[in-house]
């Protein structure tokens, strides 16, 4: 871990100003991903601005009948929130499928969205990785790639976004609220927060330098049956091979987002009209133009069968 200076921010304005003005400064909240990556010198902030005292840890009703979730709400608290459990059950389910009890107690809502990939080559600093070291090459391509992405990939990177929560957020059409260094507030639809790797996999999201997520808002509840199905080798405490988040209405329509397949939470709205036609048609739309490797080709069929299973569960 490289040396850094540590400060606790006492106001939003101060936090944002510091991170935007000090070269190499970063926010820290839960720390579960950042501290890990700092130990490996994959992240090398010169300053850490601790934002835990900023009071961004409330869950409150929003004006339009939705929910406003503070950026620092811990994963545990979000999953346990009564209204989330009742009206946004897919979000609770996704959160509870992720990590471990300990990590969910530490990890925050915004940090979860911004966590970095778990690609083992990204984590091994001896290996080429375009995400860690631009233009050094991608070791996963042609290497061990069982866990890697199958849609939205590029010749530069086939890493996945590891979050479960983000898949549910994408399904729920969440909006990310931020404060920019100049103090202005903006909202970003979650679909536009994460980027595909293209030829700049080191740029993972659309936030500006120093821009801070302050909240995530959910639109008013859409009803339906909420399911989050995470598929993994061991029964718990493992990243998804793939996951399926779905909300299905009584008439058989609904929405689906898929995790473990792309550099961002993956949802193809246009494909969702095929939901009543069943899993095969729906999956064909969602995973159109999939590019698989020898190791991860199974994910296509796995997504299809998992979606089929989810749709069966809704039928009861």
């Amino acid at each position: 871990m490289k040396a850094f200076n540590y400060e606790r921010a006492t106001s939003l304005a101060e936090a944002v100003a510091k991170v935007s003005h000090i070269k190499g400064a970063k926010f820290i909240a839960g720390g579960t991903n950042l501290v890990d990556l700092m130990k490996l010198q994959i992240e090398t902030p010169t300053h850490l601005i601790d934002i835990n005292d900023l009071g961004l840890d409330k869950i409150e009703a929003s004006a339009d009948g939705g929910l406003r979730i503070g950026a620092l709400v811990r994963n545990t608290d979000l999953a346990a929130n009564q209204q989330v459990r009742r009206d946004y059950a897919v979000l609770s389910r996704a959160l509870l499928a992720g990590a471990s009890g300990q990590l969910r107690n530490q990890a925050t809502t915004a940090g979860n969205l911004l966590q970095r990939t778990r690609c083992p080559y990204f984590y091994d600093t001896n290996m080429p990785c375009n995400k860690r070291e631009p233009n050094s090459g991608c070791s996963a391509i042609g290497g061990y790639s069982r866990l890697h992405a199958i849609v939205g990939v590029s010749n530069s990177c086939i890493a996945t976004h590891p979050s479960d929560m983000a898949i549910a957020m994408r399904l729920l059409d969440a909006t990310v609220e931020t404060v920019r260094p100049n103090g202005s507030i903006r909202t970003i639809p979650i679909a536009e927060l994460h980027r595909l790797p293209e030829n700049t996999p080191h740029i993972e999201h659309t936030l500006e330098a120093g821009e801070l997520i302050t909240a995530v808002t959910l639109p008013k509840p859409v009803g339906g049956t909420h399911i989050y199905r995470k598929v993994r080798d061991r029964a718990s405490y493992a990243f998804a091979l793939i996951s399926v988040a779905a909300i299905v209405q009584r008439d058989g329509t609904g929405r689906v987002a898929v995790g473990g397949v792309a550099h961002k939470p993956w949802r193809v709205e246009a494909a969702e009209r095929d939901m009543p036609r069943g899993a095969k048609a729906l999956t064909a739309g969602i995973l159109a133009n999939a590019q698989t490797t020898h190791d991860n080709a199974f994910k296509v069929l796995l997504v299809e069968r998992t979606i089929a299973s989810v749709l069966n569960e809704v039928k009861g």
């Binding site: 083992p120 290497g143 061991r234 299973s309």
Partner: protein, 755 residues
């Protein structure tokens, strides 16, 4: 004490303390965080500095140059040791690769430097500033590619090949035949405590507080590596956070701490970072195995052939998957072969039940497949082919005693073999009769449900083991032996042994382990530790009993020693009793002895047996496999402590679940390393993977094994588990996966279509 004739009645048979499910005597320390593991020992020596190990960035090649300038200049850095400045080092006999690499590099993450600094944070940061230029050379990394170059090579542990009768003829003429290939993955011990050592020099005297299963071996290995006399080395390892074979040998933490402490001129503590463990330390080699079984239509095996291929660095040993097939089932015509190919991956070495764990994963799946071909129940098929003698017992490698060889029984009897009873007991307890022999028939909601079974088999090994016992004037006994407790329960069974022998309650016994200043024990490995080390304590206690008897007679000439018994803290004759405390006197009484085993392990095949029964659920859509029930029935001699022995078995069953369903070190065949080198990438079972587990020990004593009449049990439990699970997955789904671990990607294309 020489043990060369089967044990007759002895004080252990009283079973007042032995055989009781005593709670671990080290429990209060372990559950309160006060048991001192190697890296915890801040108080054994002052002024400890921190060492951080840098691993090689390439798998094979050499270091062209190293620039330490930036690292040396980093705040807090005291010293940096590399191969260039470490001085001339030897190599221990048990290590295949060097523990400090450079300029030649033999495997990925081989240690190339240790940085010593005032704080851990400084040492770690400075290590990242070392600049190394490597030149990579060609290496061999893929077992499947290298398999054809495999050679059969005898070593002191393994006879590579054997043959009885005419296998090929018998197989080709057998009415029912199976010819199938299986593979197992490279596996990591992944014990929770990383290898760690604190080293301190006092002049030329070196003390290592470390985490090691084999104290006496370690002293010898450190002596060879550092080229200093054994007498100058003390190794202390009273608590070990898991080993499973990975701590049988001196590893780089110990060497680097010693070198670093010498360079820094102060004590240094080193713990390997988790990401180094899979590639820096040892692992279980992957295997490719071929099974050919021929049988008559009524299920009598007439031909059985087992070939196993594995890989290792030059000079390393094979994972000899075929060895147990020489002894497990009857059959007149047979062959086994264990071949090894060069792989430039990290060093392969022993991991819990080396050979058998991998070998049975293949053999016991083949037995299941064969039973199906025969239309027989797999339990019945196994019972039908039971044998009470070893059908194929090749000459031990290096046996030069021609007379002994001439007199040798080519089919030695088993000292005790109750495999059939294990199956009968287990089948009844598990409800095996409810299994539907036709696969894919049982459904529980989303889950396809299946049952599987497999034999467990593991040799019982006995090793010389010494101990010292001290009786004080409070009637308190202290046992000292360099035996280790790696979670096996050594502290407790040794205390129970001593208490039984001396007629003391457990609370009156203190056990001190893991210190090279104590008499050399068998150590912990190959499931020989429990039986051998308690036998050593038995021997020492016998000597102490003699000394006490002599003293009793001396103190009171009328004391009738012929029928003296030790009970309730006293030595008692018919009419008299004397407190042991009084006999010990102010100076106490000390006795030391070792158990040495004769040739009973050559005249008899000593083995442990078991039967596994498991039930799995397979998600009909995703192919995810989850354990529902597990039962092991074990026949392993006298069970010294059913509570701790049961723990050994459930732990091994759990590791077997890992091997069956999730554990595999993934090789990057371009760069030559294990990619998933942490505990997120290399998945081992978690709580949610393991259902309630049941273990039954058959009531048996084996007087041929030792005066304890016990056998090993620590490794038996993993043997066969993977196959039982594979067989259950087949029973659930109708999909046969012969490539471990059985992950859903290997199932999903063949799973029944979804409605």
């Amino acid at each position: 004490m020489k043990f060369d004739t089967p044990a007759s009645s002895n004080p252990i048979d009283q079973l007042k303390v032995i055989g009781k499910p005593a709670s671990r005597i080290d429990g209060p320390l372990k559950t309160t965080g006060t048991a001192p593991y190697a890296y915890d020992r801040y108080n054994v020596v002052s002024n400890q500095a921190y060492g951080y190990v840098l691993g090689s960035a390439i798998a094979k090649g050499r270091i062209a140059s190293m620039n330490l300038a930036a690292a040396k200049a980093y705040p807090g850095v005291i010293a940096i040791v590399t191969a260039e400045n470490a001085g001339k080092l030897g190599k221990g006999d048990f290590n295949t690769a060097l523990l400090l690499g450079g300029p030649e590099i033999q495997h990925y993450h081989q240690a190339v430097a240790v940085v010593v600094a005032e704080t851990f944070e400084q040492a770690r940061a400075a290590a990242y500033l070392i600049q190394v230029e490597y030149v990579r050379t060609k290496g061999y990394f893929d077992l499947a590619d290298e398999k054809s170059k495999g050679v059969a090579k005898d070593d002191p542990y393994t006879i590579a090949e054997s043959a009885v009768g005419n296998f090929s003829q018998a197989f080709s003429s057998a009415p029912v035949q199976l010819d199938a290939s299986y593979s197992t993955s490279h596996e990591s011990h992944s014990m929770l405590e990383p290898h760690a050592t604190i080293a301190a020099w006092d002049g030329d005297q070196l003390t290592l507080w470390t985490s090691n299963q084999m104290i006496a071996w370690s002293v010898g290995e450190i002596s060879k590596t550092l080229r200093i006399a054994k007498e100058k080395i003390r190794v202390i390892s009273p608590y070990i956070g898991g080993g499973f074979g990975s701590k049988l040998f001196v590893r780089t933490d110990a060497l680097m701490a010693a070198l670093a402490a010498r360079a820094a001129m102060r004590p240094v503590k080193v713990s390997l970072q988790r990401a180094l463990i899979p590639n820096n330390t040892t692992h279980r080699s992957a295997t490719i195995q071929r099974l050919r079984i021929g049988a008559t239509k009524d299920g009598q095996i007439t031909a059985i052939g087992h070939e196993s291929w594995s890989g290792n660095l030059p000079g390393g040993s094979p994972e000899a998957g075929a060895v147990q097939t020489r002894a497990l089932y009857a059959g007149a015509n047979r062959m086994t072969s264990n071949r090894i190919s060069q792989l430039d991956l990290p060093e392969a070495n022993a991991m819990r039940a080396p050979n058998e764990a991998s070998g049975l994963a293949a053999l016991e799946q083949a037995m299941d497949e064969m039973a199906e071909k025969l239309g027989m129940d797999p339990v019945v098929f196994r019972i039908k082919n039971d044998t009470q003698v070893v059908p194929d017992s090749p000459l031990k490698a290096g046996s030069t005693d021609s007379q002994a060889n001439k007199n040798r029984n080519p089919n030695p009897p088993f000292s005790l073999r109750q495999l059939v009873k294990c199956f009968e007991t287990g089948a009844e307890r598990f409800g095996w009769h409810k299994r539907n022999a036709k696969p894919g028939q049982v459904r529980d909601g989303r889950w396809l449900v299946g049952m599987g079974t497999a034999s467990a088999y593991r040799d019982n090994v006995v090793m010389k083991s010494a101990a010292r016992v001290k009786l004080d004037n409070r009637g308190h006994l202290t046992v000292e032996t360099d035996m280790t407790d790696i979670g096996t329960g050594s502290y407790t069974i040794i205390a129970q042994t001593a208490a039984e022998m001396m007629g003391l309650p457990l609370e009156k016994v203190t056990v001190r382990l893991g210190d090279s200043s104590f008499p050399a024990s068998a150590g912990s490995g190959g499931q020989w530790g429990g039986n051998s080390s308690t036998s050593g304590v038995y021997a020492a206690c016998m000597k102490l009993r003699e000394a006490i008897t002599v003293k009793a007679k001396a103190q009171d000439p009328k004391f009738d020693i012929t029928n003296a018994v030790f009970a309730d803290g006293k030595i008692q004759s018919k009419s008299q009793s004397i407190l042991l405390a009084d006999l010990a006197g102010s100076r106490g009484l000390v006795a030391e002895d070792a158990i040495e085993f004769g040739d009973l392990d050559k005249r008899y095949q000593q083995s442990t047996f078991g039967a596994h029964f498991v039930e799995v659920g397979v998600d009909a859509a995703t192919g995810e496999i989850r354990m529902r029930r597990m039962l092991a029935v074990c026949a392993a001699g006298r069970i010294l402590n059913p509570k701790t022995a049961r723990s050994q078995v459930i732990g091994a069953m759990t590791m077997g679940v890992g091997a069956a369903l999730m554990e595999g070190l993934e090789v990057d065949k371009r760069y030559g390393f294990f990619v998933n080198h942490d505990l997120a990438g290399y998945e081992v079972p978690v709580h949610a993977d393991i259902p309630h587990q049941e273990v039954i020990f058959l009531d048996e004593t084996d007087p041929i094994s030792s005066p304890m009449k016990a056998k090993g049990v620590g490794e038996l439990g993993i043997c066969g588990v993977a196959a039982a699970i594979a067989n259950a997955v087949y029973n659930a789904t109708g999909v046969r996966v012969r490539d471990y671990p059985i992950t859903l990607d290997k199932l999903i294309e063949k799973m029944p279509t979804m409605v």
